[in-house]
Symmetry: C2
Subunit: 232 residues, 2 copies
DNA sequence: ATAATTTAGCTAACAATGTTAACTAAAGCA
DNA sequence: TGCTTTAGTTAACATTGTTAGCTAAATTAT
């Protein structure tokens, strides 16, 4: 598929629109990104943007997909130096990368994990695969560690079964993750902790606990891994 | 402080405005609450609302405070039948109440814990005390249980210290919570888990794991309590 | 009771927003 | 060269929050 000159120009314009949108979100904050403001900064009229995105929601969706990919790339890059079987170290590095990306890409994090923009609902068939790219990285490590026999499931999780667990196992099998129910449960809980702590910190809901600090977050990640028998 | 007739009328109008706002948020969804729509439903003109709230943000703040109080009340009511020293049961009941309130008051939950409404920033001096009313309930139980010697701090947390921990201890002392650093840490992590899991569920970020279910959440709460040596 | 004042509401208007319609000029292709 | 597609324009509409200026009612003071 060769790109014609026109297609190339079009693509750079699309990228510029998204870049300007991201910058403006970062500056004047959050969800009130304005097509008109974007157009103005680019020196063109607002309706011209409709040549590139059907409507505002399509633009938002594109930004969300980009954000997911940016996060996923950042997480992948964070484990470059670490041995493939140092599961605890790998997991911790990705946890810290997750938070770091969130802090340095506030608006994009909010775009992904925060309240949907007013009136906007993400089309799952587009955003779900993009989302999976980042959070499956945690799953992957746990799966690898499990297969290598390095994970010990804490007693409080052993023997816990429910219809939901069986269903979860099925869903994960479809994605080639052959993990026992308690481990899936642990993984999801971990995901909840990570996302929850970062969200609390980012939304300022932890402000009355004092200023933000890596230490608390890191300690919690380490504690989580220790519980699974993974050293860092 | 006797209320004059005028003040009473005014108060009922204020309450009606908030009620209509809540209903409309619940119906047509989230953050796009419209002063004009509220006014229209109440059979008055939009500018009339400015007699009751200086601007939209003030209205939002009032809704947030109400939401916090509603949540706090619901949590308080959830433990009516439970013995004062059944700490695990108390904590679990409040956890379940938290999620239940969130599911049945979606928009209000989002208002509190989600991304701030576009352009809106909550004044901390008003919202923080209201927030504390709900989440201190978790703290209170842990504090009571700790003083009763019923909590055993897991090994992975013991001996973890940091400047942040010392600061946290100070902050909590100011609020009359005399808890050791690791316990505070555990409490905050628990808060992260609870809020994180409910958020994930509510924002549909867990949809690819299957439909929502009380079981997963409840199991995670129980596991958390077990880790502290609290039976449910 | 009458006069003064405060309050609750109105309409009109302004500056934004997303979006559509109708049109123009340029680029690419037969 | 002529036809079609594309990128852009301006004008306009229906929304939004908000301010200004006015009216009529309710309360308070004389």
């Amino acid at each position: 598929m060769v790109q014609t000159r026109r297609e190339k120009l079009r693509e750079t314009t699309v990228e510029e629109i998204k870049a300007v949108a991201r910058r403006q979100m970062g500056e004047q904050g959050g969800a009130n990104l304005s097509l008109r403001a974007i157009a103005a900064e680019m020196g063109m009229s607002a309706p011209a943007l409709y040549r590139y995105f059907d409507n505002r929601d399509k633009l938002v969706t594109a930004l969300i997909v980009d954000a997911y990919n940016s996060l996923a790339d950042f997480m992948v890059a964070s484990t470059g130096q670490i041995a493939n079987d140092a599961y605890g170290k790998l997991f911790l590095a990705k946890c810290l990368a997750f938070r770091e990306w969130a802090l340095f890409n506030r608006e994009q994090f909010i775009l992904i994990f925060g309240t949907p923009i007013p009136g906007y609902h993400a089309p799952p068939e587009i955003t779900t695969p993009a989302a999976w790219r980042s959070n499956s990285q945690f799953m992957q490590i746990l799966d690898d560690a499990w297969k290598a026999g390095r994970i010990s499931i804490p007693t409080e999780y052993q023997g816990l079964t429910s219809p939901l667990h069986l269903k979860l196992v099925e869903i994960f099998k479809q994605r080639d993750y052959d993990m026992p129910a308690p481990l899936i449960h642990i993984a999801m809980a971990g995901w909840g902790v990570i996302q929850g702590l970062v969200s609390l910190e980012l939304y300022g809901q932890m402000d009355y606990f004092g200023e933000s600090d890596t230490a608390l977050y890191q300690l919690e990640c380490i504690a989580y891994l220790k519980r699974l028998g993974l050293e860092t």
